[in-house]
């Protein structure tokens, strides 16, 4: 960035935090780099994180929202008011629906965001359900723009997780486990340490797989990790646990424990 004189950084917020950390480790100050602003998205991030990135990189940080299926990043973007994002209504029609009934809700109410492409060719989406929950508002923003505003997504109406900017479904984890011969007694624990998401999968080992050498058990963990990486694109840390060590539950098993505080 320094060599090329880059003034704008586009990345996930956690990667920006990582760049800031590295900058500090290498002995630089925010003023030493030519960056002026950053556009960050693809994963949820808080106001606190925005302040931290602005301070540690010496930039103004803006929010961006998008979906691969619609157009990629740029469906909506934040402005200097930093309270919501403007939807590019000249290209996308936004609606809010009740995720259970599909009923279209008025602006101001919380519901699932739905987009329709107005000028996309070859693969336009018509009323595409994003599964992101948010609120749409019409009032004119203090920045002067009059495009419809969406708040930062408040959650999802499905069980998809976003880990290090990658979409991960619990069903994907489960299918890899079963394919590799493990039981479906597993737990996923997601947390955030030093601005990076940590992703741990705990699964019960088959009693027959127990070996007297650490090497064999570690190799099994590594093999499962590779299978996961091939399926979902990122590598969880695998922990093989003894049989019966994962909590059984009466009703729906608690498979996902997300300890990140993102809202």
């Amino acid at each position: 960035m320094m060599d090329l004189g880059a003034t704008v950084l586009c990345a996930t917020p956690s990667y920006a935090a990582y760049v800031a950390e590295t900058l500090k480790e290498q002995g630089y100050k925010p003023d030493d780099i030519p960056l002026k602003s950053g556009i960050f998205g693809a994963e949820p991030w808080t106001e606190e994180m925005r302040s931290q990135i602005e301070e540690t990189l010496g930039i103004k940080a803006y929010d961006i929202y998008g979906l691969t299926e619609i157009s990629g990043p740029g469906v909506a973007y934040g402005c200097s008011a930093h309270n919501g994002m403007h939807i590019n209504e000249d290209h996308f029609l936004a609606e809010i629906i009740n995720p259970e009934t599909g009923e279209v809700l008025p602006y101001g109410e919380k519901g699932e965001l739905v987009f329709t492409c107005l000028d996309k060719e070859a693969f336009p989406m018509l009323r595409y359900r994003t599964r992101d929950i948010c609120i749409l508002t019409e009032e004119t923003c203090s920045c002067g723009r009059t495009f419809l505003k969406m708040c930062k997504p408040l959650g999802r109406s499905d069980d998809m997780m976003i880990i290090r900017g990658v979409n991960v479904f619990p069903s994907q984890i489960e299918s890899v486990l079963i394919q590799e011969g493990y039981s479906s007694n597993y737990q996923i624990i997601i947390d955030r340490v030093s601005n990076t998401d940590t992703f741990d999968v705990f699964v019960e080992m088959n009693p027959d797989d127990f070996d007297d050498t650490i090497r064999v058990i570690t190799a099994k963990e590594k093999s499962l990790q590779n299978a996961m990486k091939n399926m979902i694109g990122i590598s969880p840390k695998i922990h093989l646990t003894p049989p019966k060590s994962i909590e059984r539950s009466e009703g729906k098993a608690v498979r996902i424990v997300d300890r990140r505080k993102l809202q």
Binding site: F210, D211, D212, T213, I214, R215, P242, S245
Partner: protein, 142 residues
């Protein structure tokens, strides 16, 4: 002939090792050798006992994950360099040594060692051809 070793998965939780040794003590299992291989998340407890199969049943009934496997045991002179000589025999023959540990014995002047290799028969015949005393189930507990 190789001797039986009992290995038990030990969770990395408080009291884990204590509980396992209690399960064995309650059934009067006498431990002749014990060591723990530890990683960040778990440990493997390895034991030499007089009746490995009985001990296996005891720990399995108590809910532990365990298995019995045969390992090579040798008697070496209790002097500096004796162990080095045995290990050199194995490494010169490119026999991979996974781990090793010692066993309590009453034979003065001799030390008993467990050697975990992939091919027990090969290792034993090689060591015997170098005049190293290989132990079996009968001689190990003397």
């Amino acid at each position: 002939m190789a001797i039986k070793q009992l290995s038990i998965y030990a969770a990395n939780t408080k009291g884990s090792l204590a509980q396992i040794t209690k399960a064995l003590a309650d059934e009067s299992i006498d431990l002749r050798s014990i060591c723990v291989a530890d990683t960040e998340n778990f440990g493997i407890l390895r034991l030499i006992v007089e009746d490995a199969d009985r001990a296996l049943q005891i720990v399995r009934d108590a809910g532990y994950t365990a298995r019995v496997r045969k390992v090579v045991a040798v008697s070496i002179e209790d002097r500096p360099s004796a162990l080095y000589e045995v290990l050199t025999i194995l490494s010169d023959a490119e026999i991979n040594l996974e781990y090793m540990y010692s066993i309590i014995n009453s034979a003065k002047g001799h030390a008993f060692m467990v050697l975990r290799v992939d091919d027990n028969d090969l290792a034993e015949s090689l060591l015997a051809s170098h005049h190293i005393t290989v132990l079996n189930e009968q001689t190990i507990f003397l």
